[in-house]
């Protein structure tokens, strides 16, 4: 019934607007600003960023066997749990590139990528702060290519914090990630120098 109420509220409009969606997500205990909001779109197969049509909203949920408020809450709870699975998390990440990408382009704008990364990566990428530093200082392009997007995730998951298992020579990592590796190695060396200098000064 509550669901029907909601339907009536937005009867005039075919689109589920941002604010309403935000409120809706809060009501079912999903974080409207975080990963969970994207997971929602992913689950109901809302493939491209933008307003969700009412039709899609309803049919998307229905396909998930959601037909009542209780089942909605259950479903949302399950979604939160699923997000903890690495496979699901990764699939979501990979999917997000196409979600944010404009239809006639092959790449996504750097600032959008940065935003999405800030949502998705901190939980799984220990070197994420370094990555943002790298983006600010060394990454000159204004776009992010799909290959980099995809490979970055694997890098985050596979490579250790101290980068000791990174194969620069035959790892087949994208060139940008090689540059990130160099960036980390270089700044480590600088830090060591600084530390020894400070130590000496003491």
């Amino acid at each position: 019934e509550e669901e029907e109420e909601e339907e009536e509220d937005i009867d005039e409009e075919d689109e589920v607007l941002e604010d309403n969606l935000g409120e809706f997500l809060k009501d079912i205990h999903l974080d409207p600003d975080g990963v969970e909001s994207f997971a929602f779109a992913y689950s109901i197969k809302h493939e491209h960023a933008g307003p969700i049509s009412r039709q899609h909203f309803i049919s998307g949920l229905r396909e998930q066997d959601v037909d009542s408020w209780e089942s909605l809450l259950t479903w949302a709870k399950r979604l939160r749990i699923q997000l903890k699975e690495p496979k699901m998390y990764r699939a979501l990440y990979i999917w997000m590139f196409d979600y944010i990408k404009e239809a006639n382009r092959k790449t996504i704008a750097k600032e959008y990528a940065e935003h999405l990364w800030s949502v998705m990566l901190p939980a799984v990428f220990p070197l994420y702060p370094k990555w943002t530093e790298f983006l600010d200082t060394k990454y000159e392009s204004t776009v992010v290519k799909r290959d980099l997007w995809n490979c970055l995730y694997d890098f985050a998951i596979e490579i250790k914090d101290d980068l000791t298992n990174y194969d620069r020579h035959s790892g087949a990592w994208p060139v940008v990630i090689d540059e990130f590796y160099d960036f980390c190695a270089h700044s480590d060396a600088n830090n060591n120098n600084q530390q020894t200098q400070e130590h000496q000064q003491q």
């Binding site: 092959k106 290519k145 799909r146 290959d147 694997d154 790892g171 060139v175």
Partner: protein, 745 residues
């Protein structure tokens, strides 16, 4: 000679006694001890006679029979031990004599006792002859030392090793060698005999020889040469030192061959080489005043050759010479490549590089016997400095050099000289890493030469092309041949054109039609041709279209020349100018003065080109136009006035064009070439992936590198191309393994 006679008799009687049984008395009934001892006594006496050189009276077959009898009746022990005893007794006497001999005669005496006319060896030979049967049966059975070698060993024990004889021998022998090394004469034959004695006396191995002589020989040799080398090196040049050690080494070889035992040769060689060569190799090479650098710089081929030959005996020392040569070549070459004077003059630059190469090539051939590794090192050193410059300037200079040679430099040269020059260019071309940069410049220069030079004889151009074809494959040269063809066809067309022209229109033209794709980049910009020129152009175009339908002609006004008859106060002149300059000058048929801005608008010539063509006409040296203000700086308001006062001594005047400032100032390869490289690598990647369908990262990288010979390709470069192709969906990564690629059809 009595001795010899007795020996002959002895030998004859031996052969008579072997085998036959006539007169042989064999007692089968056993032999008592008493009887045996009697037989032995006789034998013993005979042996003593032999030892005293009275063998002539003895009868071989009797002695043989007696010893045979003893052995047969199981009295071998008696016989053997007895022989041992009697030999020993004799040797003790010999030993006393030897010990009593003074040093100066010791060697002579002992050798005489050993192998002299009445020497021990001979005695034992005879004794062995008698006791042959014992050797063959008893000794073998009881595993006792056969008689002859038993005798030798006894000489060892009782003569050489008794008293202090061996020590004295050692001292005397080494003393002789030292004397000889100090250039005194010694009795080599005596030495040889003495050393043979030491070897033979131990029968089965050279232990005695080694202990008494060889060990200390090697030690004293090392000391001797260590001392000598140090002294000599500190007071002499490297060159002289090498001469000296060459002599010493030959001396030692001679010594070894003449009187040392064969087993000593390699050991002695090693010691000598160690002390004379190995220890000092690095020092010799790196000696600041007379070492290798000095030798290279002063063309000391013989000395370097001597060093090479000597060092070749200890091959690993050769690396010092090689290292020195490589460094010198690289340093010299780097200086050439970085010298600003050379960088301004391509001809000088190339000449110096060629000279450097020739010089060291000569060393490798004459001093280093064309050694494979030296040849390789030289090649690498040349490659190193030739390719130091990331702009690939040497590639450009080589092409400029060739250009200058083709235009005028080869006038008056014989055919052989020209051939050599072309070969020199090719030889440097081989060292270039950025071959494609050279090719790019070469094509541009060749195109210009074909269009502007009137050389009817293009023979040397064609020869150069065939040489390049041999180096680069036919792909490179096929387009060049197309250029030649265009020239030929154009000439034929001109003949046909002139023939079919019925009327004599004002402008006479010579047209060359270039096939796009064969020639370097063409210019699509059009300027406003003057009416007369435009009319002539249209006429030719029509003619050409009638012969080749479906082809489009675009006039390349940035090239080409024109001859203008210009009227001045002092008379008419024929000015030979560039097309653009012709366009500019034709304006002055309508007015006397124009501003720069007006000229720009009226001619529609691209500004960059207009500047230099215009300023060339107003240049102080040949002011066909007067510029106001008369400074180099050009603004839109500046005016250009026809100079009626222009004069020249010649009627036909060629107006030179200011050089365009070179575009490549950055540390990069020319952009056209850089683009070509990208395309090439992508082409290879796609080709490989299409064939293999699936391939791992490392294999793909190595395939690309294998197939790229025209320039040095870096892994990062290839990686970027791979990513570009992924982006454009020619290939994709494997879902599970990032390092595996799949071809996308």
């Amino acid at each position: 000679s009595i001795r010899r006679g007795a020996r002959k008799l002895w030998k004859r009687s031996r052969t008579m006694a072997s085998g036959s049984g006539s007169g042989f008395d064999f007692n089968n009934a056993g032999l008592t001890r008493e009887k045996a001892e009697k037989i032995w006594k006789d034998l013993r006496a005979a042996i003593v006679e032999i030892q005293n050189s009275n063998a002539a009276e003895l009868r071989f077959e009797e002695l043989y029979r007696n010893s045979y009898t003893l052995v047969l009746h199981k009295h071998g022990d008696l016989l053997y031990n007895g022989v041992q005893e009697v030999v020993k007794e004799n040797l003790m006497r010999v030993s006393d004599e030897v010990n009593a001999t003074a040093n100066p005669q010791l060697l002579g005496t002992i050798v005489d006792k050993w192998s002299g006319q009445m020497g021990h060896k001979l005695v034992m030979t005879m004794v062995q002859d008698i006791l042959m049967y014992m050797d063959k049966t008893y000794c073998r059975l009881k595993k006792k030392e056969p008689v002859y070698s038993m005798g030798l060993l006894q000489f060892r024990d009782h003569v050489i090793m008794r008293g202090n004889v061996s020590q004295r021998l050692k001292v005397l022998l080494l003393d002789c060698i030292h004397k000889e090394r100090s250039h005194e004469n010694v009795d080599r034959l005596l030495l040889k005999k003495c050393l043979s004695m030491l070897v033979d006396v131990n029968v089965r191995n050279t232990d005695v020889y080694i202990r008494v002589f060889e060990d200390d020989l090697l030690k004293t040799t090392a000391e001797f040469y260590m001392h000598e080398s140090q002294m000599f090196m500190s007071q002499n040049t490297v060159s002289d030192y090498l001469k000296k050690i060459e002599r010493r080494i030959l001396e030692e070889e001679d010594r070894a061959a003449t009187y040392l035992d064969k087993s000593t040769h390699p050991k002695l060689r090693k010691v000598v080489q160690e002390e004379l060569i190995t220890k000092y190799a690095k020092q010799l090479v790196e000696n600041k005043s007379s070492g290798c650098v000095h030798m290279f710089e002063n063309d000391m081929v013989d000395d370097l050759n001597r060093m090479f030959r000597l060092f070749s005996k200890v091959p690993r020392t050769l690396e010092f010479i090689r290292g020195c040569m490589s460094k010198l070549v690289k340093d010299t070459g780097t200086a050439i490549v970085q010298d600003p004077v050379n960088l301004k003059q391509p001809k000088l630059f190339v000449q110096k590089v060629l000279d450097c190469r020739k010089k060291y090539d000569n060393f490798v051939k004459k001093a280093f016997n064309e050694d494979r590794i030296f040849t390789r090192d030289l090649k690498e050193s040349l490659e190193h400095f030739i390719n130091l410059d990331s702009r690939a300037a040497p590639a450009q200079y080589l092409s400029l050099y060739l250009d200058e040679m083709m235009r005028k430099g080869m006038k008056g040269m014989s055919d052989e000289e020209r051939e050599k020059l072309l070969n020199d260019v090719i030889s440097i071309f081989r060292y270039l890493q950025d071959k494609d940069v050279f090719e790019d410049f070469y094509k541009k220069h060749l195109a210009t030469r074909l269009l502007t030079e009137n050389t009817a004889d293009r023979d040397h151009e064609k020869r150069m092309i065939s040489k390049l074809k041999a180096e680069c494959g036919h792909q490179f040269t096929s387009r060049l041949e197309g250029m030649f063809n265009d020239i030929k066809i154009s000439a034929e067309n001109m003949v046909a054109y002139r023939n079919q022209r019925k009327r004599d229109v004002g402008v006479e033209m010579n047209v060359t039609v270039l096939t796009t794709g064969f020639w370097p980049v063409s210019n699509m910009e059009r300027c406003n041709l003057p009416r007369e020129a435009q009319a002539a152009a249209e006429e030719y175009k029509a003619f050409y279209a009638s012969k080749n339908s479906g082809r489009r002609l675009t006039w390349q006004t940035h090239k080409g020349t024109a001859e203008l008859q210009c009227t001045f106060k002092r008379g008419k002149k024929l000015l030979v100018v560039q097309t653009y300059q012709m366009v500019i000058l034709m304006l002055y048929n309508k007015a006397q003065r124009y501003t720069y801005k007006q000229i720009l608008e009226l001619t529609n010539i691209p500004e960059k080109e207009l500047r230099r063509h215009l300023l060339s006409l107003a240049h102080p040296k040949r002011r066909v136009l007067k510029k106001e203000p008369n400074i180099k700086k050009l603004t839109h308001k500046d005016t250009f006035t026809y100079n009626h006062d222009y004069n020249s001594q010649l009627y036909r005047v060629k107006i030179p064009l200011m050089q365009a400032r070179p575009e490549t100032k950055e540390n990069k390869v020319p952009p056209a070439v850089a683009e070509q490289r990208k395309n090439w690598v992508e082409l290879v990647i796609v080709r490989v992936m299409k064939t293999r369908k699936t391939l791992d990262h490392n294999s793909l990288m190595s395939e690309v590198m294998k197939q790229t010979h025209r320039f040095a390709v870096k892994p990062v470069f290839i990686k970027k191309r791979i990513e570009s192709l992924i982006e454009r969906e020619y290939i994709k990564r494997d879902k599970k393994d990032r390092g595996v690629y799949h071809y996308l059809a």
